[in-house]
Every structure is written in C-alpha cells, then in structure tokens.
Amino acid sequence: MSKAMPAVHELQESLAGPRAVINGGKPIRLESGAMLGPVTVAYQTWGELNADRSNVVLVCHALTGDQYAVGTHPITGKPGWWESMIGPGKSIDTDRFFVICPNCLGGCMGTTGPAATNPETGEPYGTAFPVITIRDMVQAQAMLLDTLGIDKVMCVIGGSMGAMQVLDWAACFPKRVVSAVAIAGAARHSAQNIAFHEVGRQAIMADPDWCNGFYFREGKRPESGLSVARMAAHITYLSEPALWRKFGRALQDRYTKSYGFDADFQVESYLRYQGASFVQRFDANAYLYITRAMDYFDLEADFDGDLANAFRNTQTRFLLLSFTSDWLFPTSESKEVVRAMNRAAANVSFVEVESDKGHDAFLLDEPDMFATVGGFVDSVAREQEAGR
C-alpha cells in the first residue's frame, strides 16, 4: 500500500464539510468523569431545515462509518454508506427532511478523537485521549444540535453502533426525540461481541508500528494490525450464505492451489482488500476507542437492571428492525429491547427482515427495510404536521 498517503490526522484537517465547536468551546465532562475539550464535531447535512425546525432527522453512523452517509466520500471516492436510504424521494426523503449526520466523538473524520490535536501538547492525542462511551457520543451530538439551535429531532436513526446511540438518545433525551429507529442494534454489547473487539484491538496493539498509540511521532501507522482487525471484524458483518454466494471456494487469479500462503481463495483476497483499503481512511487509535465505547454500552445496567426503566413515560415512537441472518446483533437482542419497551408501555413497532446478508444488511439494498423505515418516518412526519 502507498506509504505516500498522508497520516489520517493530517488528512482529516483538510476534509471538506461543516464543523462546530460544541459547548461554547468549554471542555465537556465525559461519563468516566474525565474532561475533554474543546470539542469539535464535523458533520454533513442534506435537505432544508424548515421554519419551525421540526423536520430534523439525525443519522448516527456505525463503528467504521462517518458523516459521509450521502455523496462521494472525500477519501475513498466511493458513494456514501447510506445512499440507498437517504435522498430525494427515498425512505429518508431529503426533499422533506433536514438530515444531519455527525462524525461520532472519538472518530477520525474531523470530530475530536485520538487523531485530533491535543491542545495541551500540540500533537495528536494518541492514547492520551480519554476513554469515551456511547453516552459521550450522544452527549456530543446533543450539544451539536444545541449549537445549531435545534431542540427536537423528528427522527433519530442508526444501525449497529448507530442503533446503540439511537436507544441512548431516546433514554437520555426522551423529550427531544419524537421518533427513533434502531436497526440491527442492541441495548448492550454481548460477551461474544466484546470478544471479537478484543481480537481486533490486540491485533492493532501487537503491531510494532502502533508504538503504544504514539505512532504519529515516528511517522508510522500500524497498518497491518488495523488491517487484521478489519478483516476479523468484516467476517462478523457477513453470513456464511453470503460468503458462499459471493466466493464459495473459488480460487483467485489461478487455476490450481499454490501450496503456499498466498491468497489462493477469493475470500482471502477479498478480506485482504477490505483490510488494506480500510487503513487508508481509518485511524487505528480511533478504532480502539470506538470499539471500547461499544463494549461499555449497557443500557440495562444504566437503568437499575431493568431496561424498561430506560423507556418509562416516553412519548417517543420507536421502530426496531433486525435481520434474520445477523449473528452479530441477532434478532433476540432487538426483541429484548422490544419486550422492555412493552413493559414500559412504549409505542414500539418491530420487524425482523428476511435477509441472508448478515449484519451488513442494514447498509445494503433491502427493499423491505426501506419500505418499513419509509412508512414509519412518513407517518411520524404526517402525525406531526396534523398535530401542529
């Protein structure tokens, strides 16, 4: 891979798009008690904010996502990760709604994270960055909306880690959230998922180029470690049927086995490509911090051991979706949340979408998902208009 690439922390300074310094430039108190600041949040918007600011849709991205949900990505040159969901006439209709997608706290696309400059040292934070949580990400998003003069969101929506943020938004700011859509998510990270994340983190930390998190001082990047982390994680986003359909046991660019450790199989070649392209756009430390935030997420524990407490007396309308072949965030996790919402008498709808594409299905072309989300968001908007 090209060593001429600028380091991610240099690259992110040059990224296009609006940024806001939140909390008036004052440090924010994190869930751990640590102070962090000033905090900048980079974000993207689509559509027009209406006069009474009632048409806001907040999109929360997943672990390795970013604010470029729509439009050409400034680094990869590829289409946005949720082009299929957001746009004129789509499920989240930018002709009607003002859609905002911030880069999460701890991210590496312009929002304050381990690759950002530490004002105390003048160099990137690295592992001097404090450990953050999903709640801290949500707090930063809420402060961004404060900064932009937006009180209520008509809908907060996200998949995977984004769904965790959605649930936390609804639990922490019930009066600011008219409706919430959590796709392929969970109210807490499972032991298996923590285990997978630990494998990824250990791969990064075992890379000598990681340099205890201060690789930028040496002009290095732990590319092989981050790449292995990505490869391992990527398997968990797919399903055996999806892998089989895509690759089977087909060989890559050869007719016979090499009897060596080249990428003989297409699936190996694919994973190597996934790993290699990921390191071009993602900061290894950011990967450590964001996976940690997901591991710490446990909404049930935060609400005295009863998840229903997170949703008592809420007026928010909820939609939860899961996918049949998702084994990373399986349907049982979504159903746990639905049951808790039922105990709290919350307004919840739930669908398990038939798909063999695994966890990644929420990013892919799933017409049933688009229909369900589109119908839900439209009904919330119409209800809101009728109530005005």
Binding site: V338, N342, R343, V348, E352, A371
Partner: protein, 230 residues
C-alpha cells in the same frame, strides 16, 4: 358504527363510514372508547387504525407477516412482528383493557393457551371466528363428503390457515372447560346480519351464524363486569 335495530336481538350492521369490514365493525362496536388494547393478528391494521383514530384507544398490534407490519407502520400504528402462540408471553400481566383476536383463533397452534394468555394480558378479550357449524357447511359436508365449501368457507383444506376449525358449540364447550366468563356474543351471517347469541340458545346461532364474535372474561370475574379505563 350504526346498529340498525331489528326485533328479538337481531340487527343489521349499517355501513361503516370508514369502510371497515362488517365483522371488524362488529368487534369495534364492543370496545369502549379510550381504552388500552392489543389487536393480535392485526393484518393490515384496518381495525386497529379505526380503534386508535376514531375511538381514541391506545392501541398496539401484533402481526405475523412483514407486509402486514409494514402496512400498519405506514398507517402510524405501533405493531410488533410476532405470532400469538409464541409472543403473547412477552407482555406483562394486565397490560391492556382488551385483547382482540379476530379471525385468528383457528389458525393458532394452541387455541386454548392463546385464550389463557390473552386473558392474562387483559380481563376482557374479544374473539371472532368462522363457524363450521353453519347449516351450509354441514350440508356441504354431508352431501359432498368433503370438507365444507361454502360462501364463508371457501378456502380448500390444504390452503386454509385454520388448523383448528370449530363450531359455536365447540367454542362454548372450551369456555366451559376453561371456566371463562362469556359476555356479549353475536352471530354474523350474510356479512351484515347480526344475531345476539343468548345463553342456552347457542344451537340456533350454531346453525345460522357464518361467523361468531365473543366477549370472554377472566374465570374469577362475575359476568359482565368491566374494568374501567384508568
């Protein structure tokens, strides 16, 4: 809904101004406005939407098909994908004032368990079902020697979702076995003709009703007593 009264417990259902199917309009007429309810097997949400938007109920739905849930969600209803056999256990005791099961009882795996679950969630349930005791069904079976094929029962045996067909009398037997209270009960024929099923006179309804709608109450509860909405 308007009930055009006739004589001796007979009515003709008026046209529902929201286009609700007559059997659903009959069910809707048995629900107190402003109550909390769960519609099990709510289909495309026509009844649930009527109860929520017209009768001001706080309604939830459960539906097995994705298409049904999508239709409900698009109507602004809160509906969870699930089936009566497996997912009623997810709700706490006394979650609702009513649980409604329209045209679904005969399609569930364990009708008896489903009825008991419903009465755990609410002290009143409203159940509607097709009556296989209707004279035309009997005539069809006797003359053809095959499963009934009538106007009301037109799906062939290998395609009907009704794996537990029953008659009005069969249903009454089950309510006795389970010691359930029976509130209001109606027979429905020719789409709109309603007959009150009087206690001890089920035989007539069993012969002339194509569909039946029953209000069932918890065993311990005196007949007809209804908990008021909070």
């Amino acid at each position: 809904m308007s009930l055009l009264s006739g004589s001796r417990g007979r009515f003709v259902l008026g046209h529902n101004e929201y286009g609700l199917r007559p059997d659903l309009a009959l069910v809707a007429s048995m629900v107190e406005p402003g109550t909390r309810l769960l519609d099990v097997g709510c289909g495309d949400g026509a009844l649930l939407e009527y109860l929520v938007k017209v009768k001001g109920c706080d309604g939830r739905g459960m539906e097995i098909s994705q298409a049904g849930v999508n239709a409900c969600v698009a109507r602004g209803l809160s509906v969870v994908q699930g089936d009566a056999d497996r997912h009623l256990v997810d709700y706490p005791d006394d979650s609702f004032d009513y649980v409604i099961l329209s045209q679904t009882l005969q399609a569930v795996r364990s009708p008896r368990e489903v009825l008991l679950q419903m009465l755990r969630l609410a002290d009143t349930t409203i159940v509607s079902f097709l009556n296989y005791g209707h004279w035309a069904a009997r005539w069809s079976m006797v003359t053809r020697g095959r499963m009934p094929h009538t106007r009301a029962l037109s799906t062939p045996w290998f395609e009907t979702p009704n794996i537990h067909p029953c008659t009005v009398k069969d249903f009454m037997d089950l309510t006795r076995i389970l010691k359930l209270g029976v509130g209001r009960a109606y027979g429905l024929a020719k789409e709109r003709e309603v007959t009150t099923i009087a206690h001890g006179f089920e035989g007539q309804a069993n012969l002339f009703a194509e569909q039946a709608v029953f209000e069932l109450l918890r065993p311990e509860q005196p007949k007809g007593k209804k908990r008021r909405p909070a």
